[in-house]
Amino acid sequence: MYKAVVVGVSMGGMHALQSILSGINQSFSLPLLIVQHQSAQYKSNLAELLNRTCPLTVVDACSGDVIQPNHVYIAPAGYHLLVEKDKTIALSVDNPVNYSIPSIDVLFESAAEAYKETLIGVVLTGANHDGSQGLKTIKTYGGLTVVQDPKTAEAAQMPTSAINLTQPAHIVPLDEISDFLNKLCTDNACVE
């Protein structure tokens, strides 16, 4: 039974995230935590933009927030996003990982330790290899690993790297990812 979804995305992310989040059912009960690589120099309104088309509540992740179902949390620019064991949100300004802050690996690895086999990890489009190591950690803890089909990615390097390192359980084209997640969530409810 799954309890949370973590998503990592870089170059081409705005389009990919809009496509996925606008297709998520309103009844989607799992929290989603997202790292989108972005420059720390300018405050972005990514959460606000995504909130317009997503039926769930999209917010900037705040230190200490209790992770809620039906919510989407976006890593703020210039901060790593982590999950504590008590399922609250933590932020840090530690050194960049894979030249990135926020880093996908940092989110995935901490979330894997907190959620173990109840975590779903998704690596999307990007032009680097951040997220590969983290996805592998999710797999090690028994979580479900999903990667966007590189053929449908604006930048294929990140999903390709994740596929090579992890051999994920599922490789899914972009326009099928929201339905794929919706179905996982529905099946989840049946198990409950």
């Binding site: 705040c62 901060y79 982590l82 064991k85 840090s92 300004v93």
Partner: protein, 277 residues
């Protein structure tokens, strides 16, 4: 529920450090602390967290290295330019009314923000009547801060930040460049006192008109946040200011009642007059 082995090992490590050296990391937020410890493990080339314990207990030099690892953060001159702009435009006019000004950078790390503040004060004509206290628990960071020598490769970014923060002169007026490093102008250093202070166990040491404690609280759990906020609040004079990191807040905190939100946008809070209701 059975504890993970890793958590047991971390508990043992933190207890060992506390008993041997007095540094208390037990109330740090665990997720980022775990990452830092694992970074330290990789560097020391040990397989388990518990293998760090004998090294730390028996080798003071190794402990110093560990301590450094525990406090590495990303910082810049004029990091978050909007915040410095907010201080320049909204706080400085209030500070100008005081004959003497005390400012405290709590958790100043390697000092980049301290020099940024000194530059801002200089441009506003306030540096001469200001005493800046810049404190950290990491002595190595403090040495770097005191020396005021930084890598030249970041100056381009810092200059951009400076301009966006509302800088009135040319950023290069404030440092000397020499090969691949720069030294901050000694005039800026005259009114800065760098000192060792540990927010986790040390007390208030002076009355402040403005306290900056940015991206420090995010590393602490609720209990420790509440203690540290108590110390910061007690050090601030009535109608004085507190500035936090742009992802930090006083909401739901133990000192929420003592402050009003002065600027939500850039996380500036102002101490109320007694009584707090």
């Amino acid at each position: 529920m059975k504890k993970d082995l890793k958590d047991i090992e971390i508990d043992c490590l933190l207890e060992a450090i506390y008993q041997c050296y007095g540094y208390d990391f037990k109330n740090y937020a665990r997720a980022s602390l775990t990452r830092r410890i694992e970074g330290c493990m990789a560097e020391a080339q040990v397989e388990h967290i518990s293998a760090l314990i004998p090294k730390i207990l028996h080798d003071r030099n190794f402990f110093n290295k560990y301590l450094n690892y525990m406090s590495v953060t990303v910082t810049e001159m004029f990091r978050d330019p909007d915040m410095f702009k907010g201080i320049r435009e909204q706080v400085i006019p209030k500070l100008k009314t005081y004959p003497r000004i005390n400012i405290w950078h709590a958790g100043c790390a390697t000092g980049e923000e301290v020099y940024s503040m000194a530059i801002l004060l200089e441009e506003e004509g306030l540096l001469a009547k200001t005493q800046i206290y810049a404190t950290d628990y990491n002595n190595k960071s403090l040495e770097i801060a005191k020396a005021g020598i930084y890598s030249a490769k970041n100056m381009q970014q810092y200059t951009k930040n400076y301009i966006r923060s509302g800088g009135k002169a040319s950023f290069s007026d404030y440092y000397w460049a020499n090969y691949d490093s720069v030294k901050m102008s000694s005039k800026l250093q005259e009114n800065i006192t760098f000192a060792h202070h540990n927010l986790i166990c040390d007390q208030v040491f002076a009355e402040m008109n403005l306290v900056l404690c940015r991206n420090v609280l995010i590393y602490f759990d609720k209990t420790l946040q509440s203690r540290v906020l108590g110390v910061l609040a007690d050090s601030i004079v009535s109608r004085g200011f507190l500035v936090l990191g742009d992802q930090e807040t006083l909401r739901f905190s133990s000192v929420e009642k003592e402050f009003e939100v002065y600027s939500e946008e850039v996380k500036i809070f102002r101490k109320r007059k007694l009584p707090y209701v």
